[in-house]
């Protein structure tokens, strides 16, 4: 069972919800939390667990071997990303432009562009009781988050069974990294705030998950600030509001220290319990279907 926590707008509380929810669920059953916001991963700041595994993550890029190369220029011709250039008697590869499609490499008549590994980030796996935490971080200067997100999801899939609850803390926005982080999810929780910015970006996020045909619901964070336009929108569009978390300076202060909220703040605990029950419900429905 995969739950993606997403939001159009940044800073609405994705990480807060992901870390608190995963920790709460792990009090009773095995749970995996995976931070897919590989550009700016923050979940790890709130999770106290032991590092059990670490691995470098690579993307594949071509490397020119000049010995056999006949300088036919086919590599340049087949690259749609201008990442391979023939310059005089040289073939130049621009790794930051390369999408790793293998076309230049596999279509080279002399095998002169074998694919080689290039480190793009690091994956770390932590454990604390029932809670497993997987985090990947993109190297600064690497522009493409998608390959690392893909590999992180694959790592989670390979190491944890179908029956485990998996929570994915997704990147903000509506472009390719979010799509990659949410496309396999069984359910998406969109975290928003009741402000004009929150509503505007929620609408974009709703369009995105609708296009992917994934069931979803909304959690309103900082409830009480701003106005009621998000609630009205959800009502009109028949979107489930799973829970609300009140606007409270104490929450912001506790968060600022890198602490989990639900152990000390009753309103957050209440929200986390209702979300967790909601998820358990979906999970048992899903298990019913597969049986």
């Amino acid at each position: 069972m995969k739950i993606a926590i997403a939001s159009g707008k940044g800073g609405t509380g994705k990480t807060t919800l992901s870390t608190n929810l995963a920790s709460y669920i792990a009090e009773r059953r095995i749970c995996v939390l995976s931070d897919l916001d590989v550009e700016e991963p923050n979940s790890g700041l709130f999770i106290k667990a032991e590092l059990i595994h670490k691995e470098d993550k690579f993307k594949m890029i071509p490397e020119w071997e000049k010995n056999k190369c006949e300088l036919c220029g086919n590599c340049q011709a087949v690259c749609n990303f201008n990442a391979v250039l023939k310059m005089g008697k040289m073939i130049m590869v621009f790794p930051e432009l390369c999408h790793g499609c293998y076309a230049c490499s596999e279509l080279c008549p002399t095998d002169s562009l074998p694919m080689k590994q290039k480190k793009m980030g690091e994956l770390k796996s932590y454990k604390n009781g029932n809670l497993n935490f997987i985090e990947s971080k993109l190297i600064i200067g690497e522009e493409q988050a998608v390959p690392l997100i893909k590999q992180t999801i694959a790592y989670v899939d390979d190491n944890f069974g179908e029956d485990v609850i998996k929570i994915f803390d997704s990147p903000p926005g509506t472009s390719c990294p979010v799509i990659e982080a949410t496309r396999d999810a069984d359910f998406v929780i969109l975290v928003t705030e009741p402000t004009p910015f929150g509503l505007h970006d929620l609408k974009l996020a709703v369009e995105t998950v609708k296009q992917m045909r994934i069931p979803f619901g909304v959690v309103i964070n900082r409830h009480g600030i701003g106005n009621d336009s998000v609630e009205l929108y959800c009502k009109e569009e028949n979107i489930a509001i799973i829970a609300t978390i009140p606007n409270d300076r104490l929450i912001a202060e506790t968060y600022s220290q890198g602490k989990l909220l639900y152990p000390t703040i009753p309103s957050v605990k209440e929200a986390v319990i209702s979300i967790s029950e909601y998820i358990e419900n979906i999970n048992s429905q899903k298990e019913g279907e597969t049986k």
Partner: protein
């Protein structure tokens, strides 16, 4: 002509609210560029007229002609992005997964696959209520190439600023450290980092500053919600000092930020005390950049 770029690493620090305030203060001397194309919100505070709009096409996307397809599966074999699933016995392209590398079309024995350039968004040139022009965009859902759209918005803004003899382009950048941010930063004269004194805010500030450093751009920092956590605020200031980043101002945690936004106003129009803090930052910024507005 100068280019001032506002970024934050972490979302929700108040980047757009502060950028809109600076836009208000700079008035008609600036051209505004909203490069946070993923979740563009500047327009909610600037009252744009969406005067001109243009579709933006970029990259490629594959399409399989079912009549010509002999179902050999070669396209699926070579696709590294798992973007050619078989649905109802037909090989089809998943537009959200396709990266547009064109490899499938090159190996198809019957030339059943064609590539077309997808629309990735719309670019707008708008008159805004601060008496100037804003270039902004809307990225199509799930579109690739947001970096290219960011570059398009920025280049349009620069061209216009030069043509109209404006003093600077003010850019609302995107969150994160990936391709849209890299596009936002290229060519900047000065970077404003908006952060908050939370462990996440500091963590993301450090990461995004690593990127800024690679570009060798001078930076200043606005600490928003500065009184939320004194200890972390001290850590932020220590980091700024070590890295020689100018502390532009410390703005206290205040719900008036949200109230102003809810009323479609910038904070400088809405609250005198908070407005003063931002005006002070603006004076420092214009001094450092060497412009008179």
């Amino acid at each position: 002509m100068k280019e001032i770029v506002v970024i934050s690493g972490k979302g929700g620090t108040g980047k757009t609210s502060i950028t809109a305030s600076l836009a208000y203060l700079g008035g008609e001397d600036l051209i505004i560029a909203d490069c946070d194309v993923d979740a563009a919100d500047m327009h909610l505070l600037m009252a744009p007229d969406f005067g001109q709009s243009e579709d933006f096409y970029s990259g490629e996307i594959a399409y399989i002609d079912q009549d010509a397809c002999i179902k050999c599966g070669k396209c699926q074999d070579v696709c590294r992005f798992d973007a050619i699933p078989v649905i109802d016995t037909q090989y089809v392209v998943d537009p959200l997964g396709c990266e547009g590398c064109g490899y499938c079309a090159r190996v198809c024995p019957t030339d059943a696959i064609t590539n077309s350039q997808p629309k990735v968004g719309e670019v707008y040139v708008s008159n805004v209520r601060t008496g100037t022009t804003m270039i902004h965009a809307r990225l199509s859902i799930g579109a690739d190439n947001s970096g290219k759209l960011v570059a398009k918005v920025k280049n349009e803004a620069k061209t216009l600023a030069e043509k109209e003899n404006k003093i600077a382009v003010l850019v609302d950048g995107s969150p994160g450290v990936g391709c849209p941010v890299v596009s936002s930063l290229s060519g900047a004269s000065f970077v404003i980092l908006v952060t908050e004194p939370t462990v996440s805010g500091l963590h993301d500030l450090k990461r995004v500053y690593e990127l800024v450093k690679k570009f060798g751009i001078k930076a200043g920092c606005i600490i928003n919600k500065a009184d939320l956590n004194e200890a972390v605020a001290d850590d932020v200031k220590k980091f700024l000092k070590e890295e020689d980043i100018v502390l532009l101002s410390e703005i206290p945690y205040n719900v008036k930020f949200t109230e102003a936004m809810t009323n479609g106003k910038t904070i400088v129009e809405y609250d005198e005390d908070l407005g003063k803090k931002i005006s002070e930052s603006w004076t420092k910024i214009t001094d450092i950049v060497g412009i008179e507005i």
